[in-house]
């Protein structure tokens, strides 16, 4: 109230006026039950006054203002507390806490000012200042003088002794921290805590300070505040140094030494701290201090040589890493090591040479993501969201009923945030003791990037994974606990192998062919004198040349050297002496081999073809025989590295396919041999011979071939013809051997003489027994045949020879020196030019005597106009029924024709058969009568029947009343 008087007397100072106004406001607000506004306004007022005093440059003794603020804060707080109950105060801490912290702050600065915050206690200057301040406070107000506790008393007490100050300051600080924490203002609480820590450090009780510093640091780290982190770490380092927590101190020091926010000198200081510690402890081995690597140095990239990181057993692998040293000064590391985890690859195939050549990483450099150095915890390390669309369709009508976005890596994102808090923890920086370590000793790491090369000789095959990187400086080990992304190299071991493969697609028999030998040495070292022993195969020769050379390649397919190859042949073994080659190399050489062109035995490949042979059959064999005949030669090779021999099968193909056929012209006989070249090469054929291997001496083979040398082009055929002549009765069968010399047309000179190609075959029943002649004559009275009008067909079958061996079979019947045989004839017109009227087939009894002739008349009707070929006349032997043989006649064609004909007589078993078959399905006709005694038919061998009218044509003119003229020209 005296202030009111002062104002009335106009003697009030600015501060007095303010105080007065504020006290009135307070009274009003308290009346209004708004005590919280008082706290806020008090804070504003105090700030404002302090500002204004500064602006007005009012001179006050140091600390006086702080005393005033401190007292004011506490007074206001006391006043507020006085009018509210506990619960209200607790629920409104948010409003009052500002005042509390302000008061704490002020008390702290007073403490520093008066030398109360130090180990030694205040000096005389400090004491003087304290006395001044205490005097400046004046006497306590009478209102509070009697209370035991008042802000005035508190301040006075606090300033009067070190212990009291400590007590009051701690009380205030703890109260403030508690309040901040309770309303969730963690950051503010940490900040006050840091002040407290500073205080403790001053009082030389670092163990108490540490917890506050750690708390604050954790908070800053989690939120990525670089400067506060650095500052707090510095404080922490000092604290840890006092506490003697060597490991923690060194760790903090290493972090500080790499901190870019510090000055060079400071960083150097912390670095030296580490180094000096390391040198001190160098004498006492055994004790290791493991620190995380990332503050010391960062792994940037890694480079393998060979670049695919695959090496054979015994090979040398080098790993070059680039490490970026974070230290401000060069650091000498005694050893840098990479711990390697070894695992045996189960699937051994993957580690072989084939795999090696396919699998190649891009130039062998592995880069590591640079750690975000200023923000070790930073948000940047959060992985990006992986979103994908999701459509769900209803199964019934495929309409869209749900759609959405799915975050695929939720688990990663969520886990990151949780674990973000515990980053400072030295997470598993444990040293892994592994048997496999890549080492590099005495390395000086300059600040910035350093390249370090590790060399290792691969020992056991398997996969090696680089796990840890550690650098040791004395007893201090900097460890990178996990190298990520995963880096590994493979060591493989390979068995020596021999591959033999033809140079071309297929090997041709009869001419020298090149075969490539590939020796993959694997783990075996080929010495001088090692040789491959090839067991000889009779039909295959190995041709050794003087100029044979072997080329040695390294594992990476680089040519290493070449050397001459010595091939020695004895009658059983061919020995190839290999040039000396180191392990994991490849020796390649080529050899020429020659397989003898032995023709396949007659039968399978070549069929006996005659002129009268049905056409369809011919085609079939052609289709089937389009590929070359092959021969396999098995060679067993003894390799020096193995006690077992390797058996290699070489397949040779015959370049030729040969067929033969017997041609007849009346009674004259010709043998035709057709040589087909199936290969891609052209050949020169020479010296063709056909010899009779039988014993008949009176047989003559007269070659009709004019040229002695002939070129046979790829995929073409050459025919050779011989006329067969005999003087006496010829043998029923003829054994022939065809041989022709051949050589590749492209090569001028061959070092070896080539064996001729031979082909053996047999011709049976080549004598002509019957001549069949067909003739068509126009109807009487007309000159030419007309379409639609019946013409007569006369077939005359003439026996050309007397009884011979070929006739002796079941069909032959003997009756008093008179021999006859049953033949069946059949008129077939496959091209449907003719309609056969009446019986198209019949059985005749043919006397076995020369000149015996049988004539058959029948009527045919031309269906088209033009020159028509005559219908075919076929002859069969008609054998009496015998057991349950089904007819040898091609049932289909026979019945087909039969159904065309008009059946008249049922005099024959054959006919009755055909009548029956007409009702049922044709194809099963013969099988239905399997049980019945059926006569059999046998086609005459092609040489025995000669069709004299083959190729004859008859002119047919169209009938006049035809409006449509159909002309068939065949």
């Amino acid at each position: 109230m005296e202030k009111r008087g002062l104002i009335q007397r106009q003697e009030a100072t600015l501060l007095d006026l303010r105080s007065y106004l504020f006290s009135r406001q307070c009274t009003l607000l308290l009346f209004l039950q708004r005590p919280w506004e008082v706290a806020q306004r008090a804070l504003e007022l105090l700030h404002g006054c302090v500002q204004e005093l500064k602006l007005l440059e009012v001179s006050v003794p140091p600390g006086a203002l702080d005393c005033w603020v401190f007292l004011s804060c506490l007074e206001v707080l006391q006043r507020i507390e006085g009018c509210c109950d506990r619960a209200q105060i607790d629920s409104n801490i948010a409003h009052t806490v500002g005042l509390w912290s302000y008061a704490t702050e002020k008390l702290k600065s007073l403490g520093y000012l008066c030398g109360l915050v130090s180990e030694q206690g205040p000096n005389s200057e400090d004491l003087n200042r304290t006395v001044d301040l205490l005097a400046g406070l004046g006497a306590e107000r009478p209102e509070t003088a009697n209370t035991a506790q008042s802000p005035y008393k508190k301040l006075k007490e606090a300033l009067s002794s070190v212990e009291a100050f400590e007590k009051h300051y701690l009380d205030l600080s703890h109260a403030t921290i508690e309040m901040y924490t309770s309303i969730g203002r963690i950051r503010s609480a940490k900040f006050v805590g840091k002040d407290l820590a500073e205080f403790y450090m001053r009082k030389k009780s670092p163990q108490k300070a540490e917890i506050y510093l750690q708390g604050a640091l954790k908070n800053y780290l989690a939120e990525g505040w670089a400067l506060p982190i650095t500052h707090t770490r510095k404080q922490l380092a000092e604290c840890q140094k006092h506490l003697g927590q060597i490991e923690n101190y060194l760790q903090t020091s290493s972090l500080l030494a790499s901190d870019r926010h510090l000055t060079g000198n400071e960083r150097e200081y912390f670095c030296r701290e580490i180094l000096s510690f390391a040198s001190q402890q160098a004498g006492s081995p055994g004790h290791k201090i493991v620190l995380p690597m990332h503050s010391f140095a960062q792994l940037r990239d890694l480079h393998f040589t060979p670049s695919n990181a695959v090496v054979h057993v015994g090979g040398v692998l080098s790993v070059e890493i680039t490490v970026c040293s974070q230290m401000p000064v060069p650091v000498h590391a005694e050893q840098i090591a990479i711990n390697v985890h070894f695992s045996i690859e189960k699937n051994n195939y993957r580690k072989t040479a084939e795999w090696l050549t396919k699998h190649k990483t891009a130039n062998g450099i592995v880069s590591f993501p640079a750690e975000t150095s200023p923000f070790p915890t930073s948000q940047n390390s959060l992985p990006a969201l992986e979103l994908c669309e999701m459509f769900e369709r209803s199964p019934s009508d495929n309409s869209l009923h749900t759609t959405g976005i799915i975050c695929k890596n939720v688990h990663v994102l969520l886990r990151k945030q949780e674990s973000g808090a515990s980053l400072e923890a030295p997470s598993g920086a444990a040293l892994e003791a592994g048997a496999h370590v890549l080492k590099c000793t005495a390395v000086t790491l300059e600040p910035g990037p350093n390249a370090i090369t590790f060399r290792t000789q691969a020992k056991e095959p398997g996969t090696y994974t680089l796990r840890q990187l550690c650098a040791s400086v004395g007893p201090v080990w900097f460890v990178l606990p996990h190298i990520y992304p995963l880096v590994q190299y493979d060591v493989y071991s390979q068995e020596p192998q021999l591959h033999v493969e033809p140079l071309a697609d297929s090997l041709l028999a009869g001419i020298p062919q090149k075969v490539k030998f590939t020796v993959t040495t694997g783990h075996y070292t080929v010495k001088n004198g090692d040789s491959l022993q090839l067991s000889n195969v009779e039909a295959m020769l190995i041709l050794g040349h003087e100029e044979n050379r072997a080329v040695i390649y390294s594992n990476m397919r680089e040519k290493a050297s070449d050397a001459a190859l010595r091939v020695q042949s004895s009658d059983k073994v061919t020995s190839i002496s290999l040039p000396a080659a180191p392990a994991y190399h490849v020796i390649e050489f080529e050899l020429e081999v020659l397989s003898l062109p032995s023709a396949p035995a007659t039968g399978g490949e070549s069929t006996v073809l005659g002129m009268t042979e049905p056409h369809g059959k011919h085609k079939d064999t052609q289709k089937g025989g389009h590929c070359m005949a092959t021969m396999d030669h098995k060679v067993s090779i003894d390799c020096p590295w193995s006690i077992y021999s390797t058996v290699i099968s070489l397949t040779f193909s015959m370049p030729f396919r040969t067929t033969h056929s017997l041609l007849s012209s009346g009674t004259r006989k010709y043998v035709q041999v057709c040589v087909q070249n199936l290969s891609e090469l052209d050949f020169q054929l020479s010296d063709s011979h056909l010899v009779d291997t039988g014993d008949s001496t009176d047989l003559q083979l007269i070659p009709l071939n004019t040229e002695s040398e002939q070129r046979i082009h790829s995929r073409q055929a050459v025919f050779f013809v011989w006329e067969l002549k005999w003087t006496q009765e010829p043998p029923p069968s003829l054994h022939c051997r065809f041989s022709v010399g051949f050589s590749p047309a492209s090569e001028e000179r061959l070092s070896v003489s080539l064996k001729p190609y031979t082909y053996e075959f047999q011709v049976d029943n080549f004598l002509t027994l019957y001549s069949v002649r067909a003739e068509i004559s126009p109807p009487p009275g007309t000159e030419l045949c007309k379409t639609g009008s019946l013409c007569s067909l006369e077939v005359s079958i003439t026996r050309l020879s007397d009884l011979s061996d070929a006739d002796k079979d079941e069909a032959l019947t003997e009756r008093e020196d008179y021999f006859s045989t049953k033949l069946m004839y059949e008129v077939v017109d496959n091209s449907s030019n003719w309609a056969v009227c009446g019986k198209s087939s019949g059985v005749i009894s043919m006397p076995v005597a020369a000149r015996a002739t049988h004539r058959v008349h029948m009527e045919v009707m031309p269906l088209f106009a033009g020159y028509l070929p005559l219908p075919d006349v076929r002859l069969f032997k008609y054998l009496p029924h015998h057991s349950a043989h089904s007819s040898q006649l091609d049932a289909d064609s026979w019945i087909e024709n039969d159904s065309l004909s008009v059946d008249k007589h049922v005099d024959d078993q054959l006919d009755s058969g055909s009548v029956q078959s007409r009702g049922s399905t044709r194809s099963v006709a013969s099988s239905e009568h399997k049980g019945l005694p059926m006569p059999r038919l046998r086609a005459l061998p092609p040489g025995q029947a000669f069709n004299a009218s083959a190729g004859t044509q008859v002119l047919v003119i169209p009938s006049q009343d035809d409006h449509v003229l159909e002309v068939s020209v065949t």
Binding site: H47, Q51, R185, F191, E223, W225, L227, P228, N380
Partner: protein
């Protein structure tokens, strides 16, 4: 998320309490500003959570005075995407009233939007835009 602008002082932009951009003009006391801004985030959080109850469209982005200290005033602003701008102003600078601060924040917000529109900018990275720097500098000069 936020900013600081100390009178001729610092601008910080945070994302999830990570500073995205810090700038202070009297650089000698930077550490103090950092501590101050960091502490003021408590109040920002408090204000935002109190505001969260209000309807979205009625939300005032400007948070007002966060935290007066003896020498400085700390103002806050939060964007709809919860990027916080914090500005620290010298208390002695009486020319700066609420309205000026508000318009400065709006300018910062516009500029920040431009930065975000840059397709090469990854949200969450520190801001290194020259245009943004220039704008902040001009604002600080104006304040001095």
């Amino acid at each position: 998320m936020g900013w600081i602008l100390v009178t001729s002082a610092t601008v910080i932009l945070f994302l999830q309490n990570y500073p995205l951009y810090i700038r202070s003009v009297p650089t000698e006391n930077e550490l103090k500003f950092h501590y101050m801004v960091h502490t003021s985030l408590d109040v920002v959080d408090e204000k935002i959570s109190a505001m969260g109850k209000a309807l979205v469209d009625q939300r005032e982005l400007y948070l007002g005075l966060l935290y007066p200290t003896e020498d400085y005033k700390v103002y806050g602003y939060v964007t709809n995407s919860k990027v916080k701008f914090v500005m620290v102003v010298d208390s002695s600078n009486t020319a700066l009233r609420d309205n000026e601060i508000r318009s400065m924040f709006r300018k910062l917000h516009n500029s920040y939007t431009d930065v975000m529109c840059n397709p090469f900018y990854n949200p969450g990275d520190r801001i290194q835009s020259r245009a943004f720097d220039g704008m902040v500098t001009s604002m600080m000069i104006q304040v001095c």
